[in-house]
Point group: C2
């Protein structure tokens, strides 16, 4: 039987936010307003946007992804990080070792983050049924081929994340997507 198709999702710079920081940026008790559902069930892009500011530069109106999380996390491509003069580590979501901070500017206030700015480690979300089809396990690393005829890439060491609430999707950032000429909705193939 043909294996299920892995859709590519290219993540532009964005942030996840704690309720504490949301209160400061948008006002006490503020609730996020979903704007568009994302590939993963329960995850959504929000109408709320904030500016990301450092001494070296800024990005205006960067979108918050919901729902709120215990800790605020800003996800940048390394090209973005360079523009802000930041050295950010490549990390799995939630792992903020050696991650620098920056200033978030919202309509009602500012938050000086001490940490939480990362470049997200590429990964594939899948259900236990998908994992059985591919013969892989949670936290296993695989090699994945993505790209058009001109810029095909094989991504070594792609983390597999298995959970019954996940949808089958590989997440890369804009640098990785551009390096292989891929767009959201293209397909990725596990090759090893």
């Amino acid at each position: 039987m043909a294996k299920p198709k892995i859709t590519v999702g290219i993540s532009a710079r964005h942030l996840h936010i704690s309720q504490e920081h949301l209160d400061i940026l948008f006002g006490k008790g503020h609730q996020l307003h979903p704007f568009k559902d994302l590939g993963q069930p329960g995850q959504y892009a929000c109408e709320e946007r904030v500016d990301l500011v450092t001494e070296k530069g800024s990005f205006k109106q960067v979108r918050i992804l919901g729902p709120v999380r215990p800790n605020t996390q800003v996800e940048l491509a390394l090209t973005d990080a360079m523009k802000l003069g930041l050295k950010v580590p490549v990390r799995d979501s939630g792992d903020h070792r050696d991650a620098p901070g920056l200033t978030l500017v919202g309509p009602k206030g500012e938050v000086k983050l001490g940490t939480g700015v990362i470049a997200a480690c590429r990964h594939i979300h899948m259900t236990p049924a998908d994992a059985a089809e591919f013969g892989v396990k949670d936290k296993q690393f695989v090699s994945v081929k993505i790209g058009d005829a001109e810029r095909c890439l094989i991504f070594d060491k792609v983390l597999v994340r298995v959970h019954e609430n996940f949808a089958l999707e590989m997440h890369v950032d804009t640098d990785e997507g551009n390096a292989c000429g891929a767009k959201t909705g293209d397909f990725a193939e596990i090759v090893g």
Copy 2:
């Protein structure tokens, strides 16, 4: 015997310029001023910089690489192209099929390019002696591994260019460099 090491050179956005356009941007008969030698013999970064402008955005003070060429060519990463609202093709140097234009702004004048804006196709420069060591030929495609432990990539379909005036070096753009966590001076390995 160990094979020679292939150095990685990461190209930030830049342009090559014709004398005709140089005259308009910097004044009649202007000569480029070398600022720093590049990896390839006879090629150099210049003191001269120009702004790249479209309706959607701009990059200020982008460096010209010398010497002058028959045709002006602007090389952007796809992340850069998106910022300018341009759809640029991935092309070998000199191949401007379907390449859009933009406006160059210099201290003495402006040039509205009708074409010549590309994303450079990744490639390896090498001498005939290097080619013999690697067992490859001019215009052959190879697979190349670059990257750190966290973001290793295998670049499929990398063009080999052989010439006695070349130095052994693989050129990628900033998207490709960032996608594999590489810096100029890192090493690339031909793996297939």
